[in-house]
């Protein structure tokens, strides 16, 4: 290689390639810096300033954080968000694992992408309408209650299925299901099938082979699934609003109230930074707890 008409570009020597690569990526990178990094930095700075009534003054303070971390309302909302996000993550990943396993081990290779396509389609179709449909399904006069009453199974509407944390978890678990399946599927696909045969040749039962070989080898996928479900669900805005009927606010709803309705951008920013901090701590902690699964294998 490198003997062609334009050796500078075709050669793999570090320098010209590095310059070309940087030039190519720079428009996208500039965009991300201007519209993502800079706004995030602004939010961090705002969170340390004094705000209120639509004004921001350049007085550095930690008062916003003190309020977010000690105020009982904020603590309750933060705890609810964590409970919902953890609940959704557990439900989603536990339900998703057998599906990923089924598609990877029991479906013929030629039909795998059809299954994956079927699993992903609902994810891409109007999130808003799907969440609203769950409200319609689980509501007091909703589909489940009216259906069961029509069939004569119950006499009055069930109340434990609507407007509570359980309904939030149900809705979000449905919304994020494909997110959990894909990473687990990818890690199961990577497992060398001869390892499983070796396990069984050495006298392990199928269940023990799964427990000692398949599950540990698929842990990177499970970890990715946990993170990819946990992080967006903790910041969900629509579900608490529609399903919780405004009575079960989560972090995102609290951010909206402070940023726009109360118009205290400093406090709103402190909530946003605190939320990112909590999410980052949990994510890093979770990865560290599982690092033995992430080590040597590819």
């Amino acid at each position: 290689m490198g003997q062609g008409a334009s050796p500078g570009r075709a050669s793999t020597s570090a320098n010209p390639g590095a310059r070309a690569g940087l030039m190519l990526i720079s428009p996208t990178l500039t965009y991300a810096v201007l519209l993502l990094a800079a706004p995030l930095a602004t939010v961090v700075i705002y969170s340390l300033l004094t705000g209120g009534r639509g004004q921001i003054t350049w007085d550095f303070t930690f008062a916003n954080y003190a309020e977010v971390w000690t105020g009982p309302v904020y603590r309750a909302i933060m705890l609810r968000s964590l409970t919902v996000a953890l609940g959704v993550t557990c439900v989603t990943v536990l339900i998703a694992y057998p599906i990923a396993y089924f598609v990877s081990f029991n479906v013929e290779p030629s039909r795998k992408s059809l299954w994956l396509f079927l699993i992903t389609i609902p994810f891409w179709t109007s999130y808003l309408i799907r969440v609203f449909l769950w409200k319609v399904i689980l509501g007091y006069n909703g589909v489940v209650n009216s259906g069961l009453m029509g069939l004569g199974i119950i006499d009055e509407p069930l109340q434990w299925i609507n407007y509570n944390v359980g309904a939030l978890i149900m809705t979000l678990a449905h919304a994020y299901a494909p997110f959990a399946i894909l990473p687990i599927f990818v890690s199961l696909e990577k497992i060398d099938r001869s390892l499983l045969e070796a396990g069984q040749d050495l006298g392990e039962s199928k269940l023990r082979t799964f427990w000692r070989v398949t599950l540990p080898l698929s842990m990177p996928g499970v970890i990715a699934a946990v993170l990819i479900v946990f992080i967006p669900t903790i910041g969900d805005y629509v579900t608490p609003d529609l399903i919780g009927g405004g009575k079960l606010p989560m972090i995102a709803n609290m951010m909206e109230v402070q940023m726009l309705k109360v118009n205290n951008k400093a406090l709103g920013s402190a909530i946003a930074v605190s939320a990112m901090f909590v999410v980052a701590i949990i994510a890093v902690g979770f990865v560290l707890l599982n690092r033995r699964f992430l080590g040597p294998q590819k």
Binding site: I25, T42, V43, S113, V238, M259
Partner: protein, 268 residues
């Protein structure tokens, strides 16, 4: 035996996944303002109510403007980043890609609020333009992911052959690389279009006085009498998304077949 149990479970799971979507046409064609069983009769009144809704058409026009611009811009940004990351090694590559892909793991509320704070501070008026800015940011990672796999499956020797035959880097890109990754580009355009059309949080907070389809639907959910017409609209939207995604999947698979790769699965 074990396989059969799993298969039953998988089919049950698909039913759970699709159940809410199947309710959509059921109640969109139901002759009642109340969304509950028993069904009372067939009607297309909700579809005509939706069709004659001037505000809906206005919101749809805005949404289509946003989604089309977003799809084009995000795919251009995605192509550049994916090409840079698959073909070249340079310092800070991991960091740069990390930042570009960050919106994938950042709650949308945080992306939208931080953008809003900056736009308000600079004094940029909120409109569909600001929504496009936000949507390009969240769609670019998807485009990068799709196009990275398209560029990765390229055989580098084809490119080198073109250089050896005297083509310039630009003509090589136009004549060899672009046609080979074209299915990936089309797939990226369609996916970004679908994401942008469907997106709510950024569209809701950054549109100012303009309404887009998702925020319009959201506002109408507050009025029970308007719900059936919104379910009719939802039915059509779901159909359109499914068609677009099927086309995207077709092109993605054709792209893999074209470059001689093995299909390993979905979009992500």
């Amino acid at each position: 035996m074990k396989g059969r149990g799993l298969r039953t479970y998988a089919i049950g799971y698909l039913i759970f996944l699709y159940a809410p979507i199947f309710l959509l046409p059921l109640f969109a064609f139901n002759d009642s303002k109340i969304i509950a069983f028993p069904l009372s009769g067939f009607t297309t009144i909700w579809f005509s109510e939706m069709w004659n809704d001037a505000q809906m058409w206005n919101a749809l026009r805005n949404s289509l403007t946003i989604s089309t611009s977003t799809a084009v811009l995000a795919t251009i940004f995605g192509t550049l980043a994916a090409r840079a990351s698959t073909r070249f090694e340079f310092r800070g590559k991991a960091g740069a890609l990390g930042l570009i892909m960050l919106p994938l793991v950042l709650p949308e509320m945080i992306v939208s609020m931080s953008l809003l704070v900056v736009l308000l501070a600079i004094g940029v008026p909120l409109s569909i333009l600001t929504v496009i800015l936000g949507h390009v940011l969240i769609c670019t990672p998807f485009s990068v992911a799709i196009l990275t796999s398209a560029f990765q499956s390229l055989d580098k020797s084809l490119e080198e052959a073109a250089y050896d035959l005297g083509e310039t880097p630009f003509s090589t890109f136009r004549l060899i690389i672009l046609p080979l990754v074209m299915p990936g580009i089309i797939s990226s355009l369609l996916i970004c279009f679908t994401i942008s059309l469907d997106e709510f949080i950024i569209a809701y907070f950054l549109a100012g006085a303009d309404t887009v389809l998702s925020s319009y639907i959201y506002s109408q959910f507050r009025f029970p009498a308007r719900v059936p017409a919104m379910l009719a609209l939802g039915t059509i939207l779901v159909l359109v998304s499914v068609v677009l995604l099927t086309i995207a999947e077709y092109f993605r698979r054709r792209g893999i077949a074209k470059t001689g790769g093995k299909d390993t699965g979905g979009f992500l």
